[in-house]
Subunit: 147 residues, 2 copies
DNA sequence: TATTGTTATACTCTATAACTATA
DNA sequence: TATAGTTATAGAGTATAACAATA
């Protein structure tokens, strides 16, 4: 390890970012998500939509499109996927009848919980940290995400 | 925040994992990758392939398929994408002529560097940590990934 | 006239099945 | 006969363009 490694804050941030990035995208995260799709019987896109809906928090089609940075027409098909299986439903938005709000049904909330349970199974690699280190790590990452 | 939060190591690991997972998949990582695709002029899959090849380290088609957990036929099209633009080339594997090794060309190495430069741009959210916290965080994440 | 969402359509991504060459 | 890779093809995933309803 070179002595001048991570000299500036930007460099250290870059190093931390790349490590995290590779960790998630290099298999660990993908495997979990794939498992969650299989277990819930949902296609990846539909599951992603299910997860971004929260109980009691309607989201408009447009908001979902913005969240996913995708075309609104694709949101139509994603929400169709949820609605056809009774996991969510569209409701007229009070005040602007052009807008449609999407809300989870009771079944949707339940299915979402199942998916979250699978996704939150941490990869074994986290065992490389001690309990103390892990708490430290969790606090730091939560500070980063602004939780 | 509930008092009994993160009581066991498993719980804390789950909390840390979910925060990290959301951070990467919830936009920050996607944006960077999208930028890298645009800048390099490569389709997402092709860029992913470029990134998993390392200078001086040939990888067989089969190894790539295993890395991506995808069908070998898809690797064919991905490597075609690299080869048609002169970023990589196929070579007969010494010792087993069924196998084809994929290696980066000089142009490929250069393009790969460009992409890495963009991808390693850390999201601004990392600024929420102090320099000291950031170093701590980097050390922990690198311990996790086994660097 | 501008905006939200849908429909119809086409393009990209990825897998399955049948095939070729080598082992 | 079994394995590595390719070809042809089909199925998801996602976007673009034209449209209907509401503002």
């Amino acid at each position: 390890m070179p002595v001048d490694r991570g000299r500036t804050k930007e460099e250290v941030a870059g190093e931390a970012w790349m490590a995290m990035y590779r960790f998630i995208l290099g298999g660990e995260g993908q495997r979990n998500f794939h498992d969650a799709c299989e277990h819930t019987g949902l296609a990846p896109g539909v599951l992603k939509t299910l997860l971004s809906l929260h109980p009691g928090q309607p989201q408009s089609m447009g908001e979902l499109a913005e969240t996913f940075r995708c075309d609104p027409s694709y949101v139509t098909s994603l929400v169709d996927g949820l609605e056809s299986t009774g996991l969510a439903e569209r409701r007229p938005h009070p005040g602007d009848r052009r807008v449609k709000d999407v809300v989870l049904t009771a079944a949707g909330e339940h299915r979402r919980d199942e998916a979250e349970k699978i996704l939150s199974q941490p990869p074994e690699a986290l065992d490389r940290l001690s309990f103390t280190e892990l708490r430290q790590f969790r606090d730091l990452i939560e500070k980063i995400v602004g939780a």
